[in-house]
Structures are given as C-alpha cells and as structure tokens.
Symmetry: C2
Subunit: 466 residues, 2 copies
Amino acid sequence: MATQPAQAAESPNAAAIEELRTLLGDRLSTSAAVREQHGKDESFHEAVPPDAVAFAESTEEVSEIVKICARHKTPIIPYGTGTSLEGHVAALRGGVSIDVTGMDQVLKVSIEDMDCTVQPGVTRKQLNEYLRDTGLFFPIDPGADASLGGMTATRASGTNAVRYGTMRENVLALTVVLPDGRIIKTSKRARKSSAGYDLTRLFVGSEGTLGVICDITLRLYGIPEAISSAVCSFPDLESAVNAVILTIQSGIPIARIELADDVQMDAINKYSGLDFPVTSTLFLEFHGSEQGVQEQVESVGTIVEGFGGSDFQWATRTEDRNKLWQARHDAAYACKALRPGAEIWATDVCVPISRLAECITETKRDIEESGLIAPIVGHVGDGNFHLVFLTDPNDPDENARAQALNERMVMRALAMDGTCTGEHGIGYGKMDFLISELGEAVSVMRTIKKAIDPDNIMNPGKIVRV
Amino acid sequence: MATQPAQAAESPNAAAIEELRTLLGDRLSTSAAVREQHGKDESFHEAVPPDAVAFAESTEEVSEIVKICARHKTPIIPYGTGTSLEGHVAALRGGVSIDVTGMDQVLKVSIEDMDCTVQPGVTRKQLNEYLRDTGLFFPIDPGADASLGGMTATRASGTNAVRYGTMRENVLALTVVLPDGRIIKTSKRARKSSAGYDLTRLFVGSEGTLGVICDITLRLYGIPEAISSAVCSFPDLESAVNAVILTIQSGIPIARIELADDVQMDAINKYSGLDFPVTSTLFLEFHGSEQGVQEQVESVGTIVEGFGGSDFQWATRTEDRNKLWQARHDAAYACKALRPGAEIWATDVCVPISRLAECITETKRDIEESGLIAPIVGHVGDGNFHLVFLTDPNDPDENARAQALNERMVMRALAMDGTCTGEHGIGYGKMDFLISELGEAVSVMRTIKKAIDPDNIMNPGKIVRV
C-alpha cells in the first residue's frame, strides 16, 4: 500500500480493495469491463459498477472477503448470473461485487431423501444436468438459466410453481456468511422443523441485503412417470384466463399453465421459428402416472372447450417438450427481438386468482391505450403475470408512459390484495411500491436489516432504505 | 390506584394491571384459578402463573393492552388453548397472559381463491366445521383441537403434513401486534410474492416472542373426490418404518402415513375401545380421484406386502374414518390413561427419512433398556416421531432417566442432520437443544429478538435467552 498512496486516497474503498488483492491476487479485478458487467442486470435500471469484483472460490474465502469489507465499511454486492430484473446487482454506493460463479459444485445429492446441497454458482440447468441419471429433478425455473444462489436471494419461481412451489417452499437450509464474516447454517436437513425462528425463509428473498448465501440445500422431486405438454389457443385473453382460474379452482394438480397474449405469441413465433396462431395462448404440462395424466388432460380439456379454446396441440416426446418450453422461457429474449434496439423492461405482479382476469384485461386495455409495445406473459396458475415493455431508450416520453403504466398496474394489483412483485423482487426498482404494499411492516424489515447489518454494507439501497 | 397503594407496591406489574382493569373491566382476571390455568400447558413443564389474564376481543384491544404493558415493561404471554408441549405459556417472569379465545370469528372465506382469514382463537375443528358446506377444508391437524393462533405461533403440523405441508406452507398472511403496540400486516393475499423479507414466515413459529398474532390468512384445499383410510400391522418396528420410507421415496402422494408402536397401540385400544393387534402399526389415508386413490392403494399395498405388513383394514365411510383418526389424535390422552396418575411428557424429533428407521429403532432400544413406559407415535412420512413418557411425578429417578433418554434421542437426531423438534417448538424446554442444533445461528435469532422486542416483554425466556 505504501507504493500506491495516491490510489488509496481516491476511493473510500481503496484500502479494502488493496487487502482483497493480497488475499485473492488475480481473482480481484478492477478492470472497467468486468466492473461494468457486474453493475448491470437484465433490467432497464441504470448500470452502477462496483469498485472491484472479487471472484470467490469457497465459503471460507467469502467470509474472509466480507471481514475485510466490514472492517472498512465497504459495501458488498453478491453476484451470480446477473439475470435479476430490478437492479439488484447495481453497486449504488460502490464497493465490491462478490462473484460466486466459481462456486459451482454440487456438494451432495441424497437420492433417498430427495434433496441436494449446491454451491450458489450452480445454475438451475447445471443442477438438472447433474441429476440426469438419478430419476430426480429440481423444478424451479425462472426464464433465465439463473444461479441457484441468485434464485434463492430473489425468491424466484417460474413455470412449475403452481405445482411445486417457489424457492420459498423448496429451500431446506442455507449456509450464509453474515455481514461481519461469521458463517451460519440456518437449518438442519429435516423436511420440517419448529426449532426457533425461520432463518432459512428470512434469507430466501433477502436479495443480498442480510448476508452472502454460500450453499443451498434444495428439495428434489421424482421425475413423473408420465409428462405431457400441450398448447392451446383462445379467442381472447379473458377466455384463456378464465380457463386457468377454473382449472385451479377445480383442484387439478396441473404442473404448468402459462399464458402468452397475442403480441407475445407473435414475438415467440418470430424468435423461435414457430407458427402458433397469434392469439391468447396457454402452454400446459401434466405430470403424474399414465392414468393420472390422462384424467387431468380430460378434465382440463373439458374446461378449455367450455371457454372456446382450440384442441390441444401436443408435445409428448422429450425433445418436442423441451423445444416448447424453451420457446416459453425465451419469451423475454423474443420480446427483445421484436423491436431491435429497444430496451426490455420486465415487470410483474401477482393477485388472488379470483381477480386475475380483471387485472389482466384492464392492464391489456391500458397497454392498447398507451401506444406502447408490451407483451403479456404469465405464470397464471399462481395469479402471477408479467409485462415486458419494449421502449426506445432515447425517447423520454415513451419511458414516462411505461413508468405510468407500470405504476397503474402495481396499484391495481395492490387494490386487489395482490403484491407488487410475484417473483422478480424489489431491488431498487420497487422500493416505493413495497411501502405502498405493506406500509408499517416495511419498518419491521428495516429494523431487521439494521440489526443484522448495522453498518449497512450488504447490498445497500435495496429492498429498504436505511 | 390511590386506593390500593399496598397492592401497587407488591408487584412491578401492578401499575400495568390497574390500567388494564380500567380498559377491560371484568375481562381482566387476577383470580388464582384463572392465573394457574393460564400458566400451564399440556407438558410436564412446571406451571408458572401470570400476574393477570386479559381476555381480549379485538386486534385494536390487543394493541391497547400491549401498549399499556410496554409502557410498564410488563411481560406479555399470548394464550390460545394452552395445548403446547414445551412450556410455551409459562409466565417465567410474571406479567399478563393475553387470552385470545374470545377472538373466535372466521372473518372471511374466499371459495374462489381457496383461502380464509380467521381470528387467532378459532380452533382447527371449528374452522373445518365452518367450512363444511364449501367443499373446502383446512388440513393441518396437531393432536389437540388447538387454536389457529397457537398453531401459527408454534409452526404446528400433524398427520396431513406429508401431503399438505405444515403451518409454514399454509399461512399466507398475518396481522400482528408488535411489542410496542403497532399493528402490521405481514403480506397481501397473493399465493406468492417476492416483495421484501418474509415476515409471515418469521412470525410463524415465533412462539409469541415477537408479537401477538391477531389474524391469520390460511390456504384451503378442495375436499378430495375420494378418501380412503386404512390400518395395517407389521411384524416389527423396522419393517413398518421401511414401508413408510419406500412409499415416500416412490413419490406416492399419500395424504397421511402414521406410525404407532406396540405400546401405543395397546394404549389406543384401551382408551378408544378398539381391538387392533398390539404391534407396530401404520395408519394410512389416500386422497385423490377414485382412480388416483385406487392407484395409490395398489402401489402402497405392494410395498406393505414386501415388508410383511398385514392386509389393510379399511375405513371408507366418513364416520369410520373419523373414528379411526380420532383414535390416532387421542394417542397422547390414551397414553395418559395407560398409567393413571402419571405425568405425560411428549417430545419429538425429525430426521431426514433415510435415517428414520435407524433413529426410531435405536430409540426404541433405549426405552426398553431404561425400564420407562414411553409409547412411540409418529408422522413418519415427514421423518418426524414422538415419544410420550409416562413418568411418576414423585419419582425423581424416573424423571432423570426420562431426561437422559430425551437428550440421547435429540442428540441422535442432530447427528443424523435432524432437528430437536419437528412440530412442538422450543418453548423453554428445548432452548439448550436449539443451541446444540444451530450454534451461531441462534445468535442471529437473538439479534432479531432484541431488535423487534428491545425490552424483552414478549413471552420472555422462550426460544432464545436475551
């Protein structure tokens, strides 16, 4: 440090960075390109690069990094695949991004207990690839091939949540490095426990603001004996949504029931080279025994027919199913291709299912009146849907209209006893909406944040203002 | 107060009690019998009566009561049906028990959304009675007809948890009065959300140490088209447990799979006037469509046969099923009748299912060697089982042996990556075991407790020492 006094004076975080360089050598980067990449997620939110990026390789190393940062009160931003959608990784107050993609080992699989323990850099697809020969799978699937650490931190879900739950239901235990560097295990591996406060669920969805998630024990499921996927078109949005609502209310254990509107279907066709009818469409999947799947198909078929839906277009072979669901998962990228040069801005809300048709159709009307391009796509079995705005980054008026529409949609969802985000999280994009949603409860979140992270070094400026 | 200076000087809580009397009139009791009843749960833990009992009738009133107590730093112990098992309601530092049994209204049922909102004094049976004509039911069923507030506070589960989850998975939102009297709502009614810290899950299982639960929004389920219950006997404990393990590992969506050992079956026969074989026994229940139940029955039948189990003894009519499950739910009371005058002392652990057979058989061996009477009964589909010690309260040696056996069982479960309690909670009976289980994580619980309840007035002396 004596050789670089000028640099040390430049940033309040320079001293921490010097110590980290000693610890990590080449695995500490301050290059502009690396910092830029780590300050930006897949949202429209402005990139705010960290001062440095630390590439960690073990829990103990994360603990050492955090201890150094804590000593200098240097902010820390955990980083996985950078696929979040509300600016979660932006280094709003500078500091050090801890990149955990090098922590990519599946540590343990227990076939008997149907669970596994992974490092946070393992992605959902990597895990399922690893599990291929076990007869087990991990169902949670946000659009991106996100890291399981990031999925835990944002309480992610995806297309299977209607049957298998979200990260909330599927994380059994976590190893977490606290803001002072201590390492804790939040729970044992038992399926249920009433031993004290539910720290596991507290860290699931904490978006890096309470600690760094360093390993994750996850529930796994047996691959069903029979799986069938189908696509089916509807005359209008309301009919499609009403078919979903009746399916859920009938208690049919459907594994996936996904909506795409006409604009989204057009985007999917163009992006994935498909030729689905350009109208409101449901993507469905049935899991069970051969007989059970047959029963579900018959029940849902009757419901779909009642709402004027088309016959099911089936995908039964594994490769056809994969193609179908990849097209669904690529919805956001398909949107991007619909208007080259546009910024994509994905937002989501979730409402009680009884209000879903009303919420979506009113939102669709808003979009049509706004003149904006904003496909609708949704995990509608949960009452959750997304808008993907495609806006011209150089047109402030268009951006203002998108902001206004987003706000109207969120306020509509809250008025229906829904939430401002079903699965994207708060980041720094939805902090005001969180207050609108939960009011005084947010001050309890602040109390917890201040107690666990008194110096506000863990991903500051996200979820709650301190 | 001027008229009772002597009394005001007697207890540090006297001033608070006087103010509460002004607020509540007759609904504030200081009678010895009422206080005694409110200081004792169904465990062997010593009764510690509060200084007074406040019978609350609304959330706003609970808030007023808490504000008065907070001003005087008077401890508060929320009280439902008093059926907890680790001394949860004991007023270890005196103070005021808030009895919420008068808050017994079902506030709202949404059939479309399959949820309901209830006051904390509603019991599980009252709720299901209320739902009778809706086609919906609430599955969580601890042995006692507990209040839903208490079930939330202890993260209860029961016989259906293997299929439907515990209170952790089935509480959607809570209204809570904080230790300073503020009223918060932890969540909206949407099925999923990634909006901020999971306060709902933090209060589920907090055992009254963070606030008073004043209403609860719960998931409901459609009553299955077909339900069949059966009982089946095994040559020994290990065979019964291995049949359970294989059933779970096969992914069969069984609704209930409950174990009772020979001693427990003897108790059940005597208490409920039944004549089951006195040997290790499984109680099973299948939910689904007619066809689905048939499939499950065949699959489990094959497994049971493979482990030497008897033919199923069926209960298909509703009244027969109710009789069967009432006998199972009365297991603890049956134990009590097995040795009149004995203290019953129920304890539970939960382990990953791969270790369940080993954990139960080693525990059974311990019991046999100890000379104690301690039936085993368990929600074995979750890896959870109970011992019910029947000890002579006047025999210190017997109690010491029970303590030692309990400690051995807990330590065995922890060594198997299990938990010191699957569903009873920590109370003041398992605080040291919690530390053995989670170590440094308990200090995070303490940090949260101190931040939310800085004066330590909410059920002090439970879960964590402050």
